[in-house]
């Protein structure tokens, strides 16, 4: 048993050592360049295990392939209409092709310097193709800020990948500003604009308030007129209904007239009346003389 175990053990150890020499891992976060006697032979960007010749023959160079962000500096550059604007760009980039990267820039620091100068060129080029009104415009449909940023990506992407093995994920403008002198003009304009709108607001407010009141009054008038009309109709109905009863009076028109007169008399002399009456009307005639009542039989 021992005789078998020991050679196996030795074998295992040798295998492990050998494997160590000829294999290497590529992590998810890296890409790797293999060089043979200093000359690059192949690159490996997929993660996992890979083979190589032992150390002195082939060497492994690792590059972090994760996204890095580069903040640019403020750049003042003219738009198509020669209006200067100040922008600050940023770039998200990563090492995509280790071989080109190693040949062209080697380190992240150098890559960043290179990108900085290239982004400034790109900014100048792309911004110079657009008028200021495409950055900010009172008509939102004319704003092409998004497209401009995409153009920057396009402008930068291909040459940078071809020359440096750097992949540009995105390019954007972090800050969009105008030069110091222009801000004074902007403020003047903002003030004037505000003043105009202050006046407009006051005028509008007053106009609206007046209109609301006028409307209400008009409605009031209309409603009251309608109510009055309706009231008139109701009164008319009453009169019409009452008229039905007048027909009944036709049975004895004289009596009806007499009753009506009496009623009128009562109504007109109801209050605060002074009556002067001769003593020879009934029943005052009895103030002068006794009646002579004949008893009939």
């Amino acid at each position: 048993m021992k005789n078998v175990a020991i050679p196996i053990l030795i074998a295992v150890i040798f295998i492990i050592m050998a494997v160590y020499l000829v294999m290497f891992q590529v992590r998810e976060t890296e890409s790797v360049l293999v060089t043979r006697f200093g000359a690059p032979v192949r690159e490996k960007t997929e993660p996992g295990l890979a083979w190589k010749w032992p150390a002195p023959i082939e060497r492994v160079h690792r590059f972090d392939s994760r996204l890095r962000v580069l903040e640019g500096e403020f750049v003042e550059t003219p738009t198509k209409g020669a209006v200067p604007i100040i922008v600050k760009p940023y770039i998200v980039w990563r090492v995509a092709e280790p071989l080109k990267f190693l040949n062209a820039v080697q380190t992240v620091g150098v890559a960043e310097d290179t990108l900085r100068s290239r982004i400034n060129d790109t900014l100048g080029r792309v911004i110079g193709q657009h008028i200021f009104g495409e950055f900010v415009n009172s008509d939102p449909d004319k704003i092409q800020f998004d497209q401009i940023q995409m153009e920057m990506v396009k402008d930068l992407k291909v040459p940078v990948l071809e020359n440096y093995g750097i992949e540009i994920k995105t390019v954007g403008i972090k800050q969009l500003k105008v030069s110091e002198d222009v801000t004074a003009d902007v403020f003047e304009r903002m003030k004037a604009d505000r003043q105009r709108r202050t006046e407009a607001t006051i005028a509008q407010g007053n106009a609206e308030a007046t209109k609301i009141k006028t409307d209400a009054n008009a409605k009031k008038t209309a409603l009251l007129a309608a109510a009055e009309g309706r009231a008139k109709a109701i009164r008319g109905q009453g009169d019409a209904e009452a008229a039905q009863y007048y027909e009944m009076l036709e049975a004895a028109p004289e009596l009806a007239m007499f009753l009506r007169d009496l009623e009128a008399l009562l109504a007109t002399l109801k209050d605060r009346a002074t009556i002067v009456i001769p003593a020879d009307v009934e029943p005052f005639k009895y103030l002068r003389e006794m009646p002579s009542i004949e008893v009939q039989n």
């Binding site: 009172s138 801000t183 006051i202 002399l269 009456i277």
Partner: protein
């Protein structure tokens, strides 16, 4: 480390074996005891080896915290596919070094990022000073490097009226077809978390840990520049789409739009980061135009107040006129073809002045009808008697009335007519007593 141990033990083991094999025939007691001792140490070594192998394998057990998710790497490649590759919190086994590796990333953690690069320059005193202090001297220009701001678009003007433009404003800035703009300061707060750890781990640069550093801190520190850039870009892109008034008033739609833009960009670069909240903490017009803006907002308020007062007046007027149904009634009346039932219903619900008018009319109707009815009935009731004895009935009615009239009269003068005093006149002094009041009308 582990395999180095294995290596050393392996050598010792080999040495042993040689020794053992070389002298099997000596049965000498000392030799036997030596052989036994060697045998025992051989067994011990074996046990140690097994223990080491087990310990090595056991070292693959790792915990993932409750606020974390993890990825298992095998030979540097994420093991598993799709959902299965994410290890949730609990115990997990991965191959020990150098084959496997576990990467733990805090996913529940809400990382907060404050962006104040769009805010005006503040001195220490401005920030730390206690109480409201006057802002430092206002320059009439903004330095583009030191002072932060966004450009916002101008209000869309109808028919290109160049109202409010001052002659001092420079020509070429103004004549660029509606490219007027405003300047506004704003402050933002963004919260994000790692959403897809696979993408995050693969794509987002996180610095290697130095001894004593916590992954979370390093992760936040490493991702901040990326997030800051993306957020600033989104803010600058979003703000040009809004006017300064929208920016000042809407604390809702603009952040939502900014959030969309941030997320779009983060997805585009496959960062595996999700924005959970975007807040517009503060937004302010430049100090340089403070007076004009304050005046404007005061005017807005005043005019709003005037309008709301007018509304109150209108409501009051309508209620006084017609009560609650005044408005619907008015609308119905104004229709070309009003719905009669609806109108009748509304009239029945009417209140206020209109109702008074209607009530009076109704009262009149009742009165007139009732009076006519009463008269008719009265006539009807006395008619049979009248037909029988017309004179008596007439006289009685007449005298009853005269009696009533004379009772009601305040003053009565009964004059004796004289036949022999022609041409004479009688004067009666009607001395109305002012204290006499009309009788209460019932």
């Amino acid at each position: 480390m582990a395999d180095k141990h294995g290596h050393e033990h392996g050598h010792r083991h080999i040495g042993h074996a040689d020794h053992d094999e070389a002298e099997p025939k000596h049965v000498d007691a000392a030799e036997r005891s030596l052989s036994e001792a060697l045998g025992i140490s051989f067994v011990i070594l074996k046990v140690i080896m097994i223990v080491l192998v087990v310990a090595y394998l056991a070292s693959g057990f790792r915990t993932v915290g409750s606020n974390e998710q993890a990825l298992g790497l095998t030979f540097g490649k994420i093991s598993g596919v799709g959902e299965a590759r994410v290890l949730d919190h609990g115990w997990h086994w991965v191959f020990p070094y150098p084959i496997g590796e576990i990467v733990r990333i805090p996913v529940k953690k809400q990382i907060k990022l404050t962006v104040d690069r769009f805010w005006y320059e503040q001195t220490r005193n401005d920030i730390l000073g206690d109480g409201p202090k006057p802002r430092r001297i206002v320059r009439d220009k903004l330095n583009p490097i030191r002072e932060g701001y966004c450009l916002t678009r101008s209000e869309k003007q109808t028919t290109g009226v160049a109202a409010g433009r001052t002659p001092s404003a420079r020509g070429h800035m103004l004549d660029t077809d509606g490219s007027d703009y405003n300047i506004v300061h704003s402050r933002w707060e963004v919260e994000y978390q790692i959403d897809n750890i696979g993408k995050f781990f693969t794509n987002v640069y996180v610095e290697d840990l130095d001894p004593g550093e916590v992954y979370e801190d390093v992760m936040i520190e490493s991702t901040t520049p990326l997030l800051r850039s993306v957020v600033e870009n989104a803010v600058a892109t979003a703000m040009v789409q809004y006017s300064i008034d929208e920016a000042l008033q809407s604390r809702d739609t603009i952040p939502r739009y900014v959030r969309q833009l941030i997320q779009r960009q983060l997805n585009l670069i496959e960062s595996g980061v999700r924005v959970t909240s975007v807040q517009l903490v503060d937004v302010e017009w430049p100090k340089q135009v403070n007076e004009a803006f304050e005046a404007y907002f005061t005017a807005s308020q005043t005019s709003q107040q005037a309008i709301s007062e007018a509304r109150t007046y209108a409501e009051q007027t309508l209620t006084d006129t017609g009560g609650q149904v005044a408005e619907p009634l008015y609308q119905e009346l104004m229709k070309d073809d009003p719905d009669t039932d609806q109108l009748a219903y509304l009239w029945s619900q009417v209140a206020g002045q209109s109702q008074d008018t209607l009530a009076q009319a109704l009262a009149y109707r009742t009165k007139v009808v009732e009076a006519a009815k009463a008269n008719a009935n009265y006539l009807k009731s006395i008619l049979p008697e009248f037909r029988k004895r017309p004179e008596l009935v007439t006289q009685r009615l007449y005298l009853d009335t005269i009696e009533q009239v004379l009772q009601n009269a305040d003053e009565k003068f009964i004059l004796q007519p004289s036949t022999n005093l022609k041409g004479q006149e009688i004067r009666i002094l009607v001395n109305r007593d002012p204290s006499l009041k009309p009788k209460q009308v019932e």
